[in-house]
Amino acid sequence: MSDVRCDHYLSRVPFLSKRALAYPSSILSVFPALEILILSGCAGPSINRFDVTPQVLCGNQSAVATWNVNGAPAINFSVEPTPLASGRCEASGRETFAFDLVVQKQGKETGKQVEVVRIADGSAEPVVFPTSRLEGSDVVANGEKNPALWTGSVRIGTLASCQNRPIEVEHSGKTVLLTADGSPSDALAGAELTGTWELRSPLDPQEQANPRLRPKQLEIMATLRCVKQGAP
């Protein structure tokens, strides 16, 4: 895979590297059909492009790594530690992996890392947006759940408020009120996680009087389930 003569490579090879060989069973179970496209250019050493798609794998979904580099590429694969749980608005039930692409040429090297997450049925994922405006005595937050990460194969199971406050949710053409006690609602079950969201919550009298007490963000928790791409 050297580019000394500026050869261009376009090939498919099995995903095996020195580091990856330490986790053969994990690779097979996590990435059952992983293939790598290699494109090698002639200026460098540099990484012109390094993508792993999708970055969120649902169930047994496969990922494809693609890169365009100048130099000799090597890819390392590692399992990242599960983060410390410190609050109730946190993702859970996910495994995170890091792909490190290192490109060497003439004694120099450069690298780039892409993280990949594998989720499963029952995994929990926060939906959080910064509060952006007031409407009457309500505070509103809205935005799009990152479409570069979340594909249509990830669907909503339940939703719940995780901020000890009622939150009204608009998503996928429906509106649902989540209660302050955190009870889960299945009113949006089956809807895609990705797409635009609007979250709205009433301010209490103290928050209305003192802007610094108002929430910086509105946050709810979604439990997830996986479907095959194209399924209803």
Partner: protein, 457 residues
């Protein structure tokens, strides 16, 4: 009450690069080492940074080379601070957004800007914080990058605010060395490799003189020079990651993407030297601080303070920058003391004017900041000196390091380009003096030129 000049006769300044308070010292509260410190609470969820619907929390970062440098130019800092019309304050929740824009990536979990270091990962920093005085309201003077903040630190004002436009030398009307000499204060800079002051043409006349000495002399000088004739103000510089390097010398200024182990070892050596002579140590204040936050998360919104840079174009900042880690190390501070007073880099200049001046403010600009709430470092000193000299931990510090990477032929930021510009101009203008003071620059230049020639072929 003991007068300031009876307390302190030697000031040692140790400015490192690009880390935030919570990143380096947030662990003091998180680990229960000192609950009085405004660090990180156990409930890290309260510091959530939202990005495209995802939640990103602070996490314990192992010491390693980071994926890349982090964003810290003024426009990225504005994104990080995230002024909110709803809460009427900086929400301090745009660090992941800025990082995603800067790296053109989609962070999934634990992006570097949200990482913080445990006491075990920064044993020397944590040791100093436990045994001396932590300043938990020390902000960078300006919400922008390295050069403007260092210029505020050593010139008291800044003509520049934006350093994204490649190589540049830095204008400075009155650099700290000029002030010290006007006030007959003995001073010295210890540098490890090319000094940062090479970027200031105003400092070049000093840079090649006797007051700039290699870091390797620092310990012995502190050991044998009597305080009555030794330097009264000492600046100890690390080896800069963005500076010119060749050979086994390894940067240790803590500038990302460096691992911090190198900086911790540097700090250990600096403390050992500062305390080696008890007679001198008795009246020493060592100031360990950082020029700016470097793109790392911190949870405290910077207070309002307007400042308009002097150059053209100018830029009006409306607040201080992000908090930086700072510890005052001296027999004149109690163990585990926390200074909550608002200070910034010009607090050092205020302090020098109090200590060595003639009753006048350091400068009009520094006086202006003082009038708007920036305190002098003298606020943190006690009335009685301690007799003990805490022994610095002897723990081995392990760092992964890649040797043989050669010289940098492609600049990845303006500071790297600026260092090369300064080095090249100095070598052309003062070849004989540079050969004596910075002989390794000639080896570095030959290697860079050869690499670039090879790349053209």
């Amino acid at each position: 009450m003991t007068g300031l000049r009876d307390k302190i006769s030697t000031v040692v300044l140790v400015p490192l690069e690009n880390r935030s308070f919570d990143h380096m010292l947030g662990h003091l509260k998180y680990e229960g080492i000192n609950p009085d410190v405004n660090g990180l609470d156990k409930d890290l969820g309260k510091y959530t940074n939202a990005y495209k619907g995802g939640a990103y929390l602070p996490f314990q970062l192992a010491d390693r080379d980071l994926v890349s440098d982090l964003p810290h130019e003024w426009n990225f800092v504005a994104t990080q601070l995230d002024w909110s019309a709803v809460t009427q304050q900086f929400n301090m929740d745009g660090f992941v957004t800025a990082y995603a824009e800067f790296t053109a990536s989609e962070p999934l979990q634990d992006p570097d800007p949200m990482g913080f270091l445990s006491s075990g990962t920064v044993p020397i920093t944590s040791f100093l914080a436990r045994n001396f005085c932590v300043c938990d309201s020390w902000h960078a003077p300006l919400p922008t990058s390295t050069q403007p903040n260092r210029t505020m630190a050593f010139c008291g004002s800044s003509e520049i605010f934006d350093t994204s436009d490649g190589a540049r030398l830095i204008p400075c009307e009155d650099i700290i060395f000029d002030w010290l000499e006007r006030h007959n204060v003995r001073w010295r800079v210890y540098h490890d490799g090319l000094s940062f002051f090479a970027l200031y043409p105003r400092a070049w006349k000093h840079l090649l003189g006797e007051n700039f000495r290699d870091f390797e002399y620092y310990f012995h000088d502190m050991q044998v020079e009597p305080p009555e004739s030794g330097p009264q103000v000492i600046i100890v510089e690390p080896s800069y990651n963005d500076g010119p390097h060749i050979g086994p010398d390894h940067p240790n200024d803590n500038h990302p993407p460096l691992a911090v182990g190198f900086g911790e070892e540097f700090l250990r050596r600096v403390y050992q030297a500062a305390t080696v002579n008890p007679n001198r140590w008795r009246n020493t204040l060592l100031v360990y601080y950082y020029d700016e936050h470097g793109g790392f998360h911190d949870h405290v919104p910077p207070p309002a303070l307007e400042y308009e840079t002097r150059g053209s174009p100018s830029h009006k900042f409306t607040s201080l920058g992000v908090r930086i880690p700072a510890v005052l190390v001296s027999p004149w501070v109690e163990p585990s003391r926390v200074c909550h007073e608002l200070v910034d880099h010009t607090s050092v200049l205020q302090f020098l004017a109090e200590l060595f001046g003639d009753g006048q403010p350091y400068s009009d600009d520094v006086a202006h900041r003082q009038q708007h709430g920036i305190r002098s470092l003298s606020i943190a000193l006690g009335d009685r000196p301690r007799a003990d000299i805490p022994a610095v931990p002897a723990v081995p510090i392990q760092v992964q390091s890649l040797l043989g990477a050669g010289v940098r032929v492609v600049h990845q930021n303006g500071l790297q380009a600026s260092f090369e510009l300064a080095a090249t101009r100095l070598m052309a203008a003062h070849p004989e003096e540079i050969a004596k003071k910075y002989p390794d620059l000639f080896h570095w230049k030959a290697a860079v030129d050869a690499e670039r020639l090879k790349a053209k072929d």
